[in-house]
């Protein structure tokens, strides 16, 4: 069984800084209130590094990379 990484936002911790959408526009867009809409599909390997950077950059530690 292959392990895949999926991006998830903890919506309680997220306060809408918007850093994730700037660093990972391929997978994250902001809604009309500034909150992230995250692509639910597994992160493509080519974007894995960018995804980890985005996770590390979130000031609220709300973005997570879940391994399933």
């Amino acid at each position: 069984m292959t392990m895949v990484d999926t991006l998830r936002v903890n919506p309680i911790n997220c306060t809408g800084h918007g850093v994730c959408a700037e660093l990972l526009p391929e997978l994250v867009t902001l809604d009309e209130w500034g909150y992230p809409i995250v692509d639910p599909h597994p992160v493509p390997p080519s974007l894995d590094l960018e995804a980890r950077r985005a996770v590390a950059a979130c000031p609220a530690l709300a973005l997570k990379l879940l391994r399933t």
Binding site: T15, G18, E22, V55, L61
Partner: protein, 204 residues
């Protein structure tokens, strides 16, 4: 009165730069928390600058301590950089420097592993930044005649002003912020008027 070797100059110079950098870090930290922007820069720049400048500050302080130790005019043990009050020379003021450096290390190390820490724990430790800066400031003014007159004094005061203003802004912003339980009621009220204007700025 310190000696006039290159090491001593380097120590004083890196000390001044470190104070400037720490001031910037604290102000930027408040900016991150309040979701403020730097004009012309993307959002991630604020948080990146905050983190990177804090690392730069540590580097400058490491040089600041090392050069002070290496300078032979006064005897300062190496460990006095991290162990407070271990120096015979200017025991109090250098001790404050060590304390602020220790706090800085705590702030940075916990931030490097924050993904593995409990959020509330990380947050509590990070609040020590508000202790770290004043202690560093006291160390700067107290341990160096440089900052006690002339344009370096004005520089130091400008840093204090910047930090003071940022903290006041932070407090005012927090006072304005609605507690969680009241936010929904506020938004409901705002949008319940028949002629309510379009979706205004969100309440977060």
């Amino acid at each position: 009165m310190g000696g006039t070797t290159a090491f001593w100059y380097a120590s004083r110079a890196t000390g001044v730069v470190a104070l400037l950098l720490l001031t910037a870090v604290l102000v930027l930290g408040i900016l991150v928390n309040r979701q403020g922007r730097l004009p012309g820069l993307p959002r991630f720049a604020v948080t990146s600058l905050h983190r990177n400048i804090s690392l730069l500050a540590v580097a400058f302080i490491a040089v600041h301590v090392l050069t002070a130790v290496l300078d032979t005019f006064v005897s300062i043990p190496l460990l006095s950089g991290v162990i407070p009050f271990a120096s015979g020379y200017e025991r109090l003021w250098l001790g404050l420097g060590a304390i602020s450096f220790d706090l800085m290390l705590a702030l940075i190390i916990t931030s490097l592993v924050r993904g593995h820490l409990n959020r509330i724990l990380w947050r509590s430790i990070h609040l020590l930044a508000y202790l770290c800066w004043p202690v560093a400031f006291a160390h700067s003014i107290g341990s160096s005649r440089d900052l006690q007159h002339g344009w370096l004094l004005y520089l130091a005061l400008a840093c204090a002003l910047a930090v003071g203003a940022a903290i006041l802004w932070r407090l005012a912003s927090a006072a304005r912020q609605l507690p969680r339980a009241a936010r929904v009621a506020a938004l409901l009220h705002e949008h319940s008027r028949p002629t309510a204007t379009k979706a205004r700025e969100r309440i977060s």
